[in-house]
Amino acid sequence: MEELVSAVIRGFPQGCVYALVAVGFVLTYKTSGVFNLAFGAQAFVSAALYWRLHTDPEGWQWPIVPAAFVSVVIAAPLLGFVLDRALYRHLRTASPVAKLVTSLGLLVALPEIAKIVLDMPPQAYGTEGIVPDGRVVYRFGDYALNRDDIVTIVVVILAVAVLSALFRFTALGLRMRAVVESPRMTELAGVNADRVGSISWMLSSFFAGVAGVLLAPLFPYLGADQYFQLVVTAVAAAVLAGLSSLPVALVGGLALSVVSQVMVTYPPQDSFVRQVLGPALPFVVLFGVLVFMPSLQRRREATDPLAGVDPPPPALAADERSRALTIGTYVFGAVVGLGFFWWVLTVANSYWLARFTEAVIYAVIFCSITVITGMTGQVSLCQPAFAAIGAFTTAQLVTRYDMSVLAAMVIGALLAALTGGLLSIPALRLGGIFLALATLAFALFFERVLVKEEWVGGGASLMDVPRPTIGPWDFGDDRAFFVLCTVVLVVVGTLVIFVRGGTTGRYLDALRGSEVAAAAIGINPARLRITAFALSAAIAGVGGGLIAMFSERFGQANYDARFSVFFGLVWTVIVVSIGSRTVEGAIQAGAAFILFPLVILQRFLPWLLNLVLPWHVESLPTGLTFILFGLGAITYAKHPEGSVEFGKRRSLNAVQRWIDRLGRGSVDTPPDTVEPAVSLPTGSER
């Protein structure tokens, strides 16, 4: 009994940390309608600034108060203000998924921007909070709390009280909620919706800043990944609170930590609960809550009745080009592709051969995002887990049962498909962001629990994975293996194109347009979604198998560098920013993921800068990759086809106009599209 009490009490401070983040999460959602996964990134920005101003031994060494004031009271709301002005103000009528993708882009880009601006070392040690001598310990009988813990507890309880009062009793709180539902209707009530929106973002960003500096001492070093881990753990509490109740978020955060603490203390040493369920509790709870809480399933976001006042810009038409131009672009693409292929096979040294092979493999994996995000319009954050299933299965089957490596890869893909299909069944009824969260929960469960199991990750040592042989052909040689990967990519790409143009693709298009209408003509939405999920998982599994072969030795130790949860976000961001609708986009994303930092940032741009600038530039920070693609993804709401794809279409349309002009001598396209005055078909025409 005493042990139990002790576990409960030990879980309390950590619970307050979860609660603080969960409350911040709910606050952002309530005041902006954005499920802000970038909350941790915002927290990191303030913490990093504080670290520079105060903690950094080689830094400015400001006293606590001015440093905290600048980083929390000034910088954090300013960041919120900028985010609102530059981004979220224009996204109010966007879909929840588009907003989620935007926050993913920010999550990836913001910390890198902060690191470059603040010139942060890769890992800033010696983290200190805003509490003076925060690590001083107070004893209450047998139990000890340090100052940081106490301040955290006080802050979270105070925050819940103040914010609840704000929503319940003040006009501002009411206006914030009104703006979330319909900014235009709020304006009609005489309220300046833009200003309320800005205040909302400044408030929630301020809260993120507070959490950032307050929680810094918890981490061994100051990194955005630390905050990210914390945020995804706390998401469970926020969802438990239905994303709306601050007190429930507080209690949920506490309960999560306390129960988890009890689970890892109380039951016998080797029990399932202690070993697996305890550490994985937040993700199990998140998944469980998402799947079983009826209020979330039935939840449909209140739509803005005045959304039509600010329509999204129409997508650039891609299908009004002349035949010659279409063929021209195909030929150009084929020539460039074959050119690279030839160069890699004949000229490239082993380093570049390996990089290009990786790029091709990632292109295969990214085709899975083309299926899930491009075709079904849903965001899955567990694609790396599916790829890892493919990789681990391949390695395990080859090592344990001496199976042919290609057969093992196929089985791995099937296993991934099975997992994807099973995962999608309970998650099916969830829409938009909740589906994305369920996949995130699975990815985290996979990472924290399953990978560590020997039957999945293979234990501490790496497993040997040979390169395949098919009949007379041996793909052991790196160049031969590159050819094999290219063949796989061509096959997978072709299959994806077939599916997109076939029954499944058309049904999915219909389903994206309107689910009820799709069901009304006899399409089974559930079956269709399971199919899409399984197909996507299978493709990721194939890519994972290729990665295992490419690495030649694969195991748990490779997991973090290849398939960690964070990559799930990065992959989605890159594919979405380049173009998630086309296989071409997936291929370019694969190339960009591997080659962009190496070629553009380390070689091409420095060369270009050295031409025009007098000082010497060695290379650019690799963080720029994240920044660029992160910023690319935040335009998702505006260009769902991908900002690179958008640029391509625009330039191709320009070429088309140029061709037209050459052909006809003049342009006669009207400058303004007049509302299509469709003549009504009259019944008497027949």
Binding site: P314, L495, F498, V499, G501, G502, T503, T504, G505, R506, Y507, D509, A510, R512, G513, S514, V516, A517, A518, A519, A520, I521, G522, I523, N524, P525, T531, L535, P676, V678, S679, L680, P681, T682, G683, S684, E685, R686
Partner: protein, 252 residues
């Protein structure tokens, strides 16, 4: 024999009876109307017919088979087509694509395996049937424009066409004239009449527009507060004093 028979359909929400033992039937090739004031339970009843809601009591049979446990999309395959009160089109697709996908759904063949073998493309027959429907509804000029740029009236016709592509034996129309102006309503009425005449499709029309109901249907049912207060030949029902009081007020 009647095509659709609803018997004693009852639905309660949190203790409030939204539908109280409502019975209705639609015969083969028949045009039937269902009217009633706001909150009378028309939409609830409609959703019970379509399987979007499960009635607490009562049965719905279609062509002799019990529909009670049949999921929404299976009902479509059995031959029930519908349109929506608030228009539900496949955003991002053209009318032609709407019709092609509906034709494919009707055939019910194909699937992932066929797609993977490259056999999922639009067939000649699907293309021709879509073309035929475009011409029937006079949608030729807008066949390849994305639906989000089209007017509400056209959108409603696309909905009707999409439902017809599944070759329904019964078409359920949920307030098809809502949001349409007089000219558009006239086009719609003419289209429905010719569809019924040429294809023999039975139609159940849930409507507010009294004129439209009067001009179109031969038999009408009236709901008020979840109870069927009148049914019968259109002229008789509109002459009924209770109906006039509940629904028409002092309008007519």
């Amino acid at each position: 024999m009647s095509l659709l028979v609803a018997e004693g359909v009852t639905k309660k929400f949190a203790g409030i009876t939204a539908l109280d033992s409502v019975s209705l039937d639609v015969g083969e090739h028949e045009l039937v109307g269902l009217i009633g004031p706001n909150g009378a339970g028309k939409t609830t009843f409609f959703n019970c017919l379509l399987g979007l809601l499960r009635p607490d009591a009562g049965t719905v049979t279609f062509a002799g088979s019990d529909l009670t446990r049949v999921p929404v999309h299976r009902r479509a395959r059995l031959g029930i087509g519908r349109t929506f009160q608030r228009i539900e089109l496949f955003v991002g697709m053209t009318p032609r694509e709407h019709f092609v996908v509906a034709a494919r759904a009707r055939a019910g063949r194909g699937g992932l395996v066929a797609d993977l073998l490259g056999r999922g493309r639009v067939t000649r027959e699907e293309h021709d049937r879509a073309q035929e429907m475009l011409e029937l509804l006079g949608l030729g000029p807008v066949a390849d424009k994305k639906v989000e740029g089209l007017s509400l009236g056209i959108g409603r016709l696309v909905e009707v066409g999409r439902a017809l592509m599944t070759e329904p034996r019964l078409l359920l129309l949920d307030e098809p004239s809502s949001g349409l102006d007089r000219a558009e309503t006239a086009v719609l009425a003419e289209t429905l009449r010719s569809v019924q005449r040429e294809r023999g499709t039975a139609i159940l029309l849930v409507e507010h527009d009294v004129d439209l109901v009067r001009s179109l249907v031969g038999r009408v049912f009236v709901l008020d507060f979840g109870v069927l207060i009148a049914s019968g030949r259109t002229e008789d029902v509109f002459a009924d004093a209770a109906v006039r009081r509940a629904y028409l007020g002092d309008l007519v």
